[in-house]
Symmetry: C2
Subunit: 165 residues, 2 copies
């Protein structure tokens, strides 16, 4: 199968599942009379990033990851979302962007070099190594941390919601 098949469906699966998880989190707020801001600002520890930022980062590792792999212009994302609805729109835009990339753009991308920022530095890896060693683990990390924050706060979701099945 192609490098497109190794990249795009994995991102789309979890981006879609995150949207479903946010719908359940928003419904939980309404049912339990919780201010949405409280849940959107929830963290697993005071120096960890809050829920809203976890979604923004998962979105970025998907969109920017695919952009870098295809040597496309990296989408700009100002992180302005403050509500569940806005975060779901962010995910929807990310899904739309990832879907807009064509299988041809991924041809040869597994062995092509990708140079990307890591903190104040840059790093260069082959596309496959960038995907397996950087984009995927970062993407899944923020997606699973989203799930963990919501579970810890009593939202009734499970691994099936995370997998999007």
């Amino acid at each position: 199968m192609s490098f497109y098949d190794a990249s795009v469906p994995a991102f789309l699966q979890i981006l879609g599942s995150l949207s479903g998880i946010l719908t359940k989190a928003e419904a939980h707020c309404k049912a339990k009379n919780i201010q949405p801001d409280v849940l959107l600002g929830a963290r697993l520890y005071p120096d960890m990033l809050p829920l809203s930022k976890q979604i923004q980062l998962a979105s970025d590792f998907a969109a920017k990851g695919c952009a870098r792999l295809t040597h496309s212009e990296v989408p700009s994302t100002p992180d302005t979302e403050k509500t569940f609805e806005e975060l779901k729109q962010r995910l929807a835009k990310t899904i739309e962007y990832v879907k807009s990339l064509k299988p041809e753009q991924f041809e040869g991308a597994d062995t092509r070099e990708v140079t990307f920022p890591v903190g104040p530095n840059t790093m260069t890896l082959k596309g496959q190594q960038f995907l397996s060693g950087f984009a995927f683990p970062n993407f899944y990390f923020h997606a699973a941390t989203t799930h963990g924050i919501l579970r810890h706060n009593g939202v009734e979701i499970g691994k099936r919601d995370f997998l999007g099945v």
Copy 2:
């Protein structure tokens, strides 16, 4: 690059990082006078699985995932580990097993069918879909949940520990 390159290094990276994270968690117990059992039994919510089980599951999704992809005998794992040391041995054995598989065994595995248990049922997917849609998201889910449980309990680790950089 090969399907081996798309599978094995990703598992090895995070299995190694989980071992490092457990070393830090064990040191944290000693420094803070915490009974190791307490941290090994910690959960993000009462009906979630505890830390020890997260490690066992991450280990299984890596080892069994690679076994199924290569149509090798699926390793048996009785989940008997009760200490940090035993869990690190479990990870070390998993790493050894994944490393024992040869690139040739992954040739054509992306388009070959994999039949695997999902709860009481079985499911059949092409190897690439099994890896991207099932083995990876489950593996990263339990690895990141391990990180989340430990962060929530004050262990001083960060995403760099998760990434193994």
